[in-house]
């Protein structure tokens, strides 16, 4: 599991996640992702297009970081999920509490707002 930080454009940071958000994958990136985003209260779009697998531990990570971001004035928006990953987002109703969009432009617009 890898994460790649993109450039901040108009106040919105993009993060690309690559690999599997299963137990070992989340163990590898959660501390780094939290450290990069939460202290500065970033507005962030997270690109899921290269995430092959999402389990409940990944859902927990997104909720934990998104809540900490919100408390610091930031915001998280997810986008680009592959169909099986999108199905997990829908089954868990994550889209009710964290915005989920199909593409980067739509996600950036929500993160900016």
């Amino acid at each position: 599991m890898q994460l790649q930080l993109g450039k901040k454009v108009d106040g919105v940071l993009n993060v690309l996640l690559i690999g599997r958000l299963d137990t070992p994958g989340v163990d590898r990136i959660e501390t780094q992702l939290t450290a990069q985003l939460v202290p500065r209260g970033e507005r962030v779009t997270i690109d899921l297009s290269r995430v092959e697998f999402l389990g409940s531990i990944g859902i927990r990570m997104f909720i934990t970081i998104a809540r900490a971001l919100a408390r610091n004035g930031g915001k998280m928006v997810l986008y680009g999920a592959q169909p099986s990953v999108a199905q997990v987002l829908e089954t868990t109703s994550l889209h009710n509490i964290i915005p989920v969009r199909s593409d980067a432009d739509a996600a950036t617009a929500v993160a900016r707002g």
Binding site: D22, T23, G55, S56, I57, T91, S93
Partner: protein, 145 residues
């Protein structure tokens, strides 16, 4: 009926090695798409639960997983010597309306129930949990469908 047995200790290292063995077995069976995803999801969630919650007093549990590949389904049977736990009766978490009040637990078994067509559980006389999870091979069987 191809049948593969995987055995590992309920540690993070054992979990990772067991998962690698499962994925190799699924490669051999050429299981792809939603059924493949769902089989991996069931393994991830059930084994994570055993590793995190199954032991008392720091004891390392013994986990055995059997994979059976049928023409219409994949059957995963999880056998462990942890505390008795029947996941069938638990309700899905109520969807949260706000991030602030959102709970972070309960999603794993919810995903298992949505991915599976049936769950059967027994606590054996030898004090082991045996959970049998049937995952349909039909393409429309993604979680929540």
């Amino acid at each position: 009926m191809p049948r593969v047995e995987i055995r590992f200790p309920a540690t993070h290292e054992g979990f990772a090695k067991g998962f690698e063995q499962l994925r190799s077995a699924l490669d051999v069976e050429r299981l792809e798409g939603a059924p493949r995803y769902n089989a991996e999801l069931v393994f991830e969630e059930i084994v994570a639960n055993i590793v995190e919650h199954g032991a008392v007093g720091g004891r390392i549990l013994d986990v055995r997983v059997t994979l059976e590949t049928l023409h219409d389904s994949v059957i995963l049977t999880f056998d462990d010597d942890g505390v008795a736990f029947d996941p069938r009766g638990l309700a899905d978490p109520v969807p949260s309306k706000s991030l602030e009040e959102a709970k972070i637990g309960g999603f794993g078994l919810m995903l298992v129930r949505h991915a599976a067509s049936s769950l059967d559980y027994v606590r054996t006389a030898a004090g082991r949990n045996q959970l049998r999870v049937k995952v349909p091979r039909a393409a429309a069987s993604a979680p929540g469908s």
